[in-house]
Symmetry: C2
Subunit: 640 residues, 2 copies
């Protein structure tokens, strides 16, 4: 018994739903979790990184009153740590020192409390562990707020190695790190390697890590390697909930788990589920009976993340009812289905807004979708209003008071398209949503958003773009998944899948004649993704390089042939420049005023993909390659 | 002659207009400047920080093709450095190493070229100087992109001191630093102090420093102290132009200058003016004949920055014509005047859009303003369209297809207000702007923007908010300045100054009855500023603290008395919570979709003031103070 007890560590993994910016609420949840863990005889309870303040809270770190409250909440947790060791993330404060911005010194810190006291790490200068590696990419801004351990070492005239050590809690030597500390590949410095030589029973990684497609697969690989190298088990605790940086809403999936000393992973807490789970961990290094094999993540997880994120966002914003403008196309159908997953039919209103160019085909599809979903539905035509707007403005005389200036305004086709789109969203949907007591969605997808194929204050408007981080092929995949795996019936009609994607804003966008968007999604999805999703982002220069080398398709992952899309190199280049100009030009102006997006991929538009409105740039080498390509005769034959 | 030559350094201060993201264009300008400086026998030419790539270019640093072009442009400048020493900012690349994000190693670097070669600093490991202090506050994101010298020292297992030294260029020992390197007060480390003990003839600070009100005053104080301490003259070169981070547009004022070894400052280049100026600097430490006294910055500089920024932004976005919705109020009048400063009357269209609640008073003021400015003008009423919208939606039956759900939409006063605002902007102004061949402004001020007192897709819409960083009292001051100092006549009618600020969207907002906005600007301007502009941002907790201590007025800089505004403590607290809830709540959702703002102050909404949509937070202590305050009887007598 004594022996078994010695080799086992009963631990509570407290995968709590952290409410960002609400220290008192989080602390109350944590106190309950501690009490429950004690009842279950856990020796240790582990909370996520920044469990008290939340992680993505913008510049609220600049409010000293907020920091004081976080500190006081930490003291409450400390007072509850008796009969159990408690590890939790909080902001670590040193009121006697300054950050480099002149504000109070703040650390991203882990506190270990036992016997109602904080335990100082063996080599520490504070009663907490300091995050060593500060991510400053994508949505992460840590150096903006937190002083890291390396700067502290410099200040103390020490080596960073001198400040990293295990924490002795009772019988245990704990190697505690915070999130990025374990993702050390690209850093010149590894806290886990420094811990390696020291007495250690177990590694603990407290994280606040937003969901990104395939991130868990990478994480488990990295953590498993570290367990094997260090021959130690590892506990990983992440929070659930949503946090955001304004422009982008991140779902936190939890997925807290335990690794044995052989790197075998055992999932402990569910995905996207608040849960305090108890597990007995072997300190002796024995393997789990059945190591869990990780499969590829796919559309099912995207669905989970979006449903979780949408529900949580509506809850946080106190939005109880949602209006979806439903066109008969696939994007709005998928958005409506997502809403249906988190709201009852009585809290959803689908609005179809036919205009002069709306086909009976799409109206029928919209009606069919509505019938399948069973929500409120209404049709509100725009034609009369659009005509009134045109009548008020087209040929309207404008003049200066002295009559020196005289002119007439003219409305052309492009202007008329945008008038229709704005009439639908800013005139009808906004008012209908208010009258319904709710908010309306933006149904834009990632391909459209990339090149600004949308109208400001029109289809780009809404309180949230639930599918704004999905490429068009993912929208189709999600639609299929909804029908097959979720609703188990054809909620989204087959016609939506085969419909030509179209805005239906002019005679040139006639779906019945297979005329629609100027985007050929199977190709453009992949082309645009190379500009955005790649870690080293691709520009037209590389696109031409690849095209000339005959490997553009394989580089961007397009399964067809470029020469089947474009009649000539000239047409290929014209298309490339058209969309690059849009992506780097007007689309940025549109994204600046676009709604928040639910994040799925590594680079979601918003604070994780920062952009400035700049003149469009092509490299000098691009122009040379272009000249080379266009001076050859013939079709899209590659120039070798 | 020999002696004079030895004591004098003829230098060109190349205050160029850096186009962000356009290395080839900037390089062409730089080559011309070098040629001009050589003709004028300058020994040295100094360019700004990041002169080749630009500074605020978002995540475009992630494009390797862009980095390669920056590097190649640097080589072109190097090749031109013969017969003159050239100092310029560029991205410093090390393709063999990685940044902590896994991308290629990038430094914010200064290159010193002479005899067609880059000169390696005496203690350097690269052929460039590395920025040591990386700002990560306000709009600055340097750790996101650049590896700093301290990280490099750690990687090389050296002390940072071992990597900082002067550069020997010809006869000169140059102490080169980059922008923030000289703003070392809050850093644990000072590159200038490390340079102090080493042989040094002159300090050179290359910056790319956005205009902020009063920043030059602070800069000159800091730099003067450093000159005195080091007993060396200093050259400061900053660029002009505009750069942005999407949400916020920054004007760069240049203001390049020279300090003598006694800290006396001599302005060399003008403000907001591209200029390559030649100056003979004494290395012997002699003082300028007439040291320049710096006066307080004020509304005149704000005017300069806004006019410069607006002109440059229009130019960059290729917007040649502007539409301003003109209400008769002060905000739109000032915005129209700003546009008039940068565009001819034939390129401005003022649109008044009367509705049911528009008073003859404001229409008359709008007409008067228009007459004074002499632009195009037109009146387009909204009433018919608003009625149509109400007729389409109010009492409209919505139902589910099976009839199980049935309801009717209702439009109330608040919804009707927003319908009017959206009708003006999204229906009329957007279409009119397109038909006029231009874009329309957003006329919001900073107080409204703070609390979201505006309608999304309504008065919050526009391509840019030129006065969005001005508090209401600054709008009035700017209006007065326009009349008195710029136009020298009453362009903005006296009636606009005395008019009750009002949205005129309901019968309760009747300006003729002195009924209007729920904001009392003289007080709310100051209250809101404490939440935003203070370095350590204020929350309701401190507001109550101050109020209880009887010093709220002096703390926030309100010249009146709180007790003259609010009948009771209860009313005071209700007002405080109303606006705090708005500021931290719906106003954030609105700002996420708001247009870019021209920056004037230290904290402009946007990337310099990052925010997340979160549940509204009050500290526990706030509630205690509130209880304490409200439990006392009587009026707004402070509780001592």
């Amino acid at each position: 018994m004594q022996k078994t007890r010695k080799q086992r560590l009963r631990t509570a993994l407290a995968q709590i739903n952290v409410i960002p910016g609400q220290p008192a609420l989080n602390t109350a949840v944590m106190l309950k979790a501690i009490a429950a863990a004690k009842r279950k005889k856990a020796e240790l309870i582990v909370f996520p990184e920044m469990a008290i303040p939340g992680y993505l809270i913008g510049d609220n770190w600049e409010r000293e009153a907020f920091l004081r409250e976080c500190e006081a909440c930490g003291h409450k947790i400390r007072a509850a740590a008796s009969g159990i060791a408690v590890i939790f993330g909080n902001v670590g404060l040193d009121w006697t020192r300054k950050n480099e911005d002149g504000r109070v010194r703040k650390y991203n810190a882990l506190f270990i409390a036992e016997n109602k006291k904080f335990i100082r790490p063996q080599k520490g200068t504070y009663d907490f562990i300091i995050k060593t590696l500060s991510p400053n990419y994508r949505e992460f801004d840590e150096s903006r707020y937190f002083y890291d351990l390396r700067k502290l070492a410099l200040e103390l005239k020490k080596e960073p190695e001198d400040l990293i050590s295990p924490v002795r809690a009772g019988r245990l030597n704990l190697g505690c790190v915070i999130c990025e500390d374990a993702w050390d590949r690209d850093y010149g410095f590894s806290p886990l390697k420094i811990l390696t030589g020291q007495p250690l029973d177990i590694i603990i990684n407290c994280s606040s890590s937003p969901f990104t497609l395939n991130k868990n697969i990478r994480r488990r690989k990295i953590f498993a390697e570290q367990c094997v190298r260090m021959r130690k088990p590892l506990i990983y605790v992440n929070n659930v909930g949503i946090q955001n940086n304004g422009k982008t809403v991140y779902a936190f999936d939890g997925s807290s788990c335990v690794f044995d000393a052989f790197g075998n992973c055992r999932p402990v807490c569910g995905r996207f589920k608040e849960e305090v789970a108890i597990i007995d961990i072997s300190l002796a290094g024995s393997s789990f009976a059945e190591p869990i094999m990780e499969s590829e993540e796919g559309i099912g997880i995207i669905d989970e993340a979006l449903v979780f994120g949408l529900r949580a966002f509506l809850g946080q914003c106190h939005i109880k009812r949602v209006v979806v403008g439903i066109s008969g196309g696939i994007d709005s159908a998928v958005t409506a289905c997502l809403c249906r997953r988190v709201l009852s039919p009585g809290n959803i209103l689908l609005v179809n807004m036919p205009g002069r160019f709306t086909s009976p085909t799409t109206i029928a599809l919209a009606r069919q979708t509505l019938k399948n979903l069973g929500c409120y539905y209404v049709e509100i035509p725009i034609e009369k209003s659009v005509r009134h707007t045109v009548a008020q403005i087209d040929r309207l005389e404008i003049r200066s008071p002295d009559g020196a200036l005289r002119s007439r305004l003219r409305i052309n086709t492009a202007i008329l398209e945008n008038i229709q789109a704005r009439d639908r969203s800013a005139r009808i949907l906004a008012a209908v949503a208010a009258a319904f007591g709710g908010a309306f969605t933006c149904n834009a997808n990632k391909a459209e958003t990339t090149v600004g194929y949308s109208t400001m204050y029109g289809d780009l408007a809404g309180f949230l773009a639930p599918v704004g981080d999905l490429w068009k092929h993912e929208i189709y995949a999600l639609a299929g998944y909804m029908n097959n795996e979720i609703f188990h019936r054809e909620v989204i009609p087959a016609g939506c899948f085969s419909l030509t994607p179209s805005a239906e804003l002019s005679a040139a966008q006639n779906v019945d004649k297979k005329m629609g968007d100027p985007l050929y999604y199977p190709y453009h999805d992949r082309l645009f993704a190379s500009w955005i999703e790649r870690w080293n982002r691709i520009t037209p220069e590389e696109i031409l390089d690849w095209h000339i080398a005959g490997k553009l398709e394989s580089e961007i992952g397009y399964s067809g042939k470029i020469k089947d899309i474009f009649k000539s190199n000239r047409a290929f280049v014209a298309d490339l420049e058209r969309w690059w100009n849009q992506y780097c030009g007007l689309a940025i102006a549109k994204r600046i005023q676009a709604p928040p997006i639910l994040a799925v991929h590594r680079r979601t538009f918003g604070f994780g993909h920062r952009e400035a409105q700049l003149p469009v740039w092509y490299s000098g080498r691009y122009f040379k390659l272009k000249q080379q390509l266009l001076s050859r005769k013939g079709g899209v034959a590659a120039v070798h």
